[in-house]
C-alpha cells in the first residue's frame, strides 16, 4: 500500500481545495519561509490522527480551520493505492482507498470531528485498525518535525531511553 494523494480543503493556510499528488519513492518539498510546507505535514498528521492539536501548532482543533477561507469547516483526505485480491476473480487488483477527517466549528466554538473511509462514516479506532493493517503510521514516531533533531540531541540519558520504551 502507498499514499497517492493528499486533499486539503480550507485547512490552515490552504483555503482552496488543493489536491497534492504523492508519488512513490523520495519526495522533497521546498519553498520560502512561511509558505505552508509544515502545514502540509500537519495535514498528514491530522488525517492520520497521529498528533494532538498542540503537535500541529494549534491551541484548539478549530484553529486548524483556515482563517483565509469563509466557512466554518475544514477537511483533509488521504488517498491510498493498494493491491488486493478480488474475492470473485482471485486476481490482484489495484484499488483506491480514501480516508478523510473533517472538522466543523459549532456556534459555541466547540469542534465536531468526523472520520470517513470511502465515504462511510467510521470511528477513530476503526480508522487506526485500517491504517495499521495497511502498514501506515498510526503514531507520531514516523514524523520527525521541525526542531525534533535538536531536541533529540539535547535530551538527557533518561528521556532518551524513554524513546525506546515506546518500541517495546
Amino acid at each position: 500500500v502507498r499514499a497517492d494523494a493528499l486533499v486539503l480543503d480550507n485547512f490552515k493556510s490552504f483555503p482552496r481545495k488543493s489536491r497534492i499528488p504523492i508519488r512513490e519513492g523520495f519526495t522533497t518539498i521546498s519553498g520560502p519561509n512561511g509558505s505552508g510546507k509544515s502545514n502540509l505535514i500537519d495535514a498528514l498528521q491530522f488525517v492520520l490522527a497521529t498528533s494532538s492539536s498542540k503537535g500541529m501548532r494549534a491551541d484548539r482543533l478549530t484553529d486548524l480551520i483556515s482563517e483565509l477561507g469563509n466557512k466554518p469547516t475544514a477537511s483533509v483526505a488521504l488517498e491510498f493505492v493498494g493491491t488486493f485480491t478480488d474475492p470473485e476473480t482471485k486476481l490482484p487488483i489495484e484499488r483506491v482507498i480514501q480516508c478523510k477527517r473533517s472538522i466543523r466549528r459549532r456556534k459555541d466554538k466547540s469542534a465536531q470531528v468526523k472520520y470517513h473511509l470511502n465515504g462511510n462514516q467510521i470511528r477513530l479506532c476503526d480508522l487506526h485498525d485500517v491504517l495499521r493493517h495497511m502498514g501506515l503510521p498510526t503514531s507520531g514516531q514516523n514524523f520527525v518535525l521541525q526542531n525534533d533533531v535538536i531536541r533529540l540531541t539535547s535530551m538527557g540519558p533518561v528521556p532518551r531511553r524513554q524513546v525506546l520504551d515506546e518500541l517495546a
Binding site: G25, T28, G36, L40, M134, Q141, N142, V144, L152
Partner: protein, 163 residues
C-alpha cells in the same frame, strides 16, 4: 515488560551501529546505564566520528550531534518499519557533504517506502525523485506547484530560495 524492552534495545543497538557507520564511517554505540534494570537508568550514546577519538554526545559539534541523532532515527525506523516517513528540515545543521550523505541514505530507503522531506538545501532537492514547490500568494493562501527533478526541470521557485 523488561524482557520486551531488552529485546527492542538489542535490535536498535545493532541497527544504530550500522546506520552510524553508513552516515559517516564512524563507530557508534548505544549503552544502557543500568543493563540489569534498564528503567532505573538512561541511555548513553558513545560515538567515534571517523578520524577522531571516542566522545559523548555533549562534546560534539552541532553537525556531528545532528548526524548521530539521525542515525538513531534511522535505527528506530528499521526496528519499527512503516510505509511512509516524514522529515521536516532535518538537514539544517549539516554542511554540504553531510547533506549529500543523508540524501543518499534517504534515497536508498525510498526504494521500499515513501519518504517526504522538507528541505532548503539544493543538494537534498537534486537527489530526490520529485520536488513539490510551495509558495504563499497574498489573499490566495498557500499554493503547491508540482515539478519533477528527474527530468532536470529548472526549478524556478526552488533555485531562487534554495541557495
Amino acid at each position: 515488560k523488561k524482557t520486551a524492552f531488552l529485546e527492542a534495545f538489542v535490535r536498535v543497538r545493532d541497527a544504530f551501529s550500522k546506520t552510524y557507520y553508513e552516515l559517516g564511517r564512524g563507530e557508534g554505540r548505544l549503552i544502557l546505564e543500568d543493563p540489569k534494570d534498564p528503567f532505573a537508568g538512561g541511555l548513553q550514546i558513545k560515538v567515534r566520528p571517523r578520524g577522531k577519538k571516542l566522545s559523548r554526545m555533549e562534546v560534539m559539534s552541532g553537525g556531528e550531534k545532528a548526524l548521530t541523532a539521525l542515525a538513531l532515527i534511522f535505527a528506530l525506523q528499521e526496528v519499527n518499519p512503516a510505509a511512509l516517513f516524514v522529515f521536516d528540515e532535518v538537514d539544517k545543521d549539516l554542511d554540504g557533504v553531510n547533506t549529500k550523505i543523508l540524501a543518499e541514505a534517504i534515497r536508498r530507503r525510498a526504494e521500499e517506502r515513501q519518504y517526504i522531506v522538507i528541505s532548503h538545501h539544493r543538494t537534498m532537492l537534486e537527489l530526490s525523485n520529485q520536488t513539490l514547490g510551495v509558495t504563499m500568494r497574498k489573499d490566495f493562501g498557500s499554493v503547491v506547484t508540482g515539478v519533477t527533478v528527474d527530468q532536470s526541470v529548472e526549478l524556478t521557485t526552488e533555485r531562487a530560495h534554495a541557495a
